[in-house]
């Protein structure tokens, strides 16, 4: 494990790997807007973090002798001392709202493929036990649906795009393809998509991280919309390796009654 600034290849020697604990050493991970420090002392793990929205390309892993001053420490106690730890990338814990660049209309019995770039979380774990998950970017919150019965989500600054090549290479974002089929006889209009990432698997490619494809079948305003999660490896990039199982396995198609005006629940 190297110290200091990492290029994209190097950071993968840190992320998604198991590492031996070095006593008294303060580890520092900087990824996206996240600045994370953690230290293992016998049966205790001390964690501190902060966010700075300055440089989204930030990507570094360091060893320090002490925590920076004025940081609020959180302490996790275990029965046994920690020998190993891992930093794994995972999908966010809440749904994500992403806008399209312009309002979209899908004509009757037509389909469209969109790509959404989702900022990932970093999971700090010891011997398969999760300590805490941290978002790699600052997560503005938003409400999707009406004020009486909607859903709390994270809002994305990026838009859904028709070509995934438009997304820059980021070691903490995963691209999720969403195929929307309008099987109804009416035009389907929307300008926002609410995507639930809990059923997504994470795949690692040479250029991007990927989530499995989501397929949305719109049958009409008054009929439930079916959403299915492909179990196959995305084909938009070759040699993908599965890195993370979904938080919740989707055994069959999920049906959503709400297909709100201009808002698409996925």
């Amino acid at each position: 494990m190297n110290d200091g600034m990492f290029n994209r290849k190097d950071i993968f020697t840190v992320l998604n790997h198991v590492h031996s604990v070095e006593k008294e050493c303060v580890y520092n991970l900087e990824l996206g807007s996240l600045h994370l420090w953690f230290q293992f002392i016998q049966d205790e793990c001390r964690v501190a973090f902060k966010y700075e929205e300055k440089d989204e390309d930030l990507c570094a892993f360091n060893r320090l002798s002490d925590f920076p001053s004025q940081l609020k420490l959180k302490r996790y106690i275990a029965a046994k001392s920690f020998n190993q730890f891992s930093l794994n990338l995972v999908f966010p814990d809440k749904s994500i709202v992403v806008g399209s660049e312009n309002p979209v209309s899908i004509l009757p019995r037509k389909r469209a493929l969109f790509f959404v770039s989702i900022p990932l979380f970093v999971k700090l774990a010891v011997q398969d036990n999760k300590i805490e998950e941290f978002s790699t970017l600052i997560r503005p919150k938003t409400w999707f649906g009406d004020p009486m019965s909607g859903e709390l989500c994270y809002a994305l600054k990026t838009h859904a795009k028709r070509e995934f090549e438009e997304f820059p290479e980021r070691p903490f974002r995963a691209i999720c393809p969403i195929k929307i089929k309008n099987n109804s006889g009416e035009v389907l209009n929307f300008e926002k998509i609410c995507l639930s990432p809990k059923h997504l698997m994470l795949f690692q490619g040479k250029i991007h991280f990927w989530g499995n494809q989501v397929e949305v079948n719109y049958e009409g305003e008054k009929i439930e919309t079916s959403i299915s999660y492909s179990q196959e490896i995305p084909k938009h990039e070759s040699d993908l390796i599965k890195k993370c199982a979904p938080r919740e396995v989707a055994t069959e198609s999920i049906f959503r009654r709400t297909f709100d005006h201009l808002k698409l629940w996925v």
């Binding site: 600052i138 503005p140 919150k141 938003t142 409400w143 009486m148 909607g150 709390l152 809002a155």
Partner: protein
């Protein structure tokens, strides 16, 4: 002496039997009422569970009392007759109790609030601790216990501030007449968009409301999930003060100039 002893043994047996029935009955009804509470809470809500529990338990107690009295040799029919007459007398004397009881049923069926909700009734504000047959108990923010009769709740306006998952926090703001409206609005928008508790949607309001006597009146309306409402309010207020000072935006306050003239 033998007869007296035999009679005593018989009596002791009856008393022990009645005691056993009483203990067993109370235990069974207690457990059954707890089970009903659990089931009703899952199917409906917490207060329905509590009501079911209390109703079952107290009905059970009456039944056990009658059974025990029967075991002890009392004539239940005569007791019921006496209870009927007594009931009428008590009924006349306890109109308020009955009114509260019926109000409680209406409150439950309306489902305006449930245990754990924050409500405002009259001058009282607090968290609902329990909804009982006769009253609702609130824990105020000063940690006082307030008992409000159901009848009062039915007659007064009840505001349930935590019924919906998100709430809007409205803050009135006054600035000096020398400020530019567009600049103030831009600063307020920036403060809101940088606040970690503020929801991006529903869109926050920044409104220029009126020309007041000595200030320009603005209002912001920012949404947050109900659990973060107070955090949002506090952080916005602090941030507005700090940012206005940085941006040299005047927050006017009432003052009087006293001019002394020398003759």
């Amino acid at each position: 002496m033998d007869t007296a002893l035999a009679l005593n043994s018989q009596q002791i047996y009856v008393i022990l039997k009645a005691l056993f029935l009483a203990v067993l009955g109370v235990f069974v009804f207690y457990k059954f009422s707890l089970l009903l509470n659990k089931k009703f809470s899952i199917i409906w809500n917490k207060q329905a569970g509590l009501m079911a529990e209390k109703f079952t338990f107290y009905t059970g107690l009456v039944l056990i009392a009658m059974l025990v009295l029967h075991q002890l040799g009392f004539k239940i029919s005569a007791l019921l007759g006496a209870a009927g007459i007594l009931g009428i007398a008590i009924g006349f004397a306890s109109q308020t109790v009955v009114s509260n009881l019926i109000s409680g049923v209406f409150l439950l069926s309306e489902k305006t609030f449930q245990v754990g909700d924050q409500i405002n009734v009259d001058q009282f504000k607090g968290i609902v601790l329990s909804i009982d047959l006769l009253s609702v108990k609130l824990r105020t923010y000063e940690n006082h216990l307030i008992r409000i009769p159901n009848e009062v709740l039915l007659k007064h306006n009840v505001v349930n501030v935590t019924h919906f998952p998100i709430r809007r926090c409205d803050i009135p703001i006054s600035v000096g007449y020398g400020e530019t409206v567009a600049h103030v609005k831009e600063v307020l928008q920036r403060i809101i968009s940088n606040n970690k508790h503020a929801l991006q949607n529903p869109k926050p309001l920044v409104v220029f409301e009126s020309f007041d006597a000595s200030s320009l009146a603005f209002k912001i309306g920012v949404w947050a999930v109900k659990e973060e409402f107070m955090d949002l309010k506090q952080s916005l207020m602090e941030e507005i003060k700090i940012t206005f000072e940085k941006e040299n935006i005047e927050i006017p306050y009432a003052y009087q100039n006293v001019i002394l003239k020398k003759e």
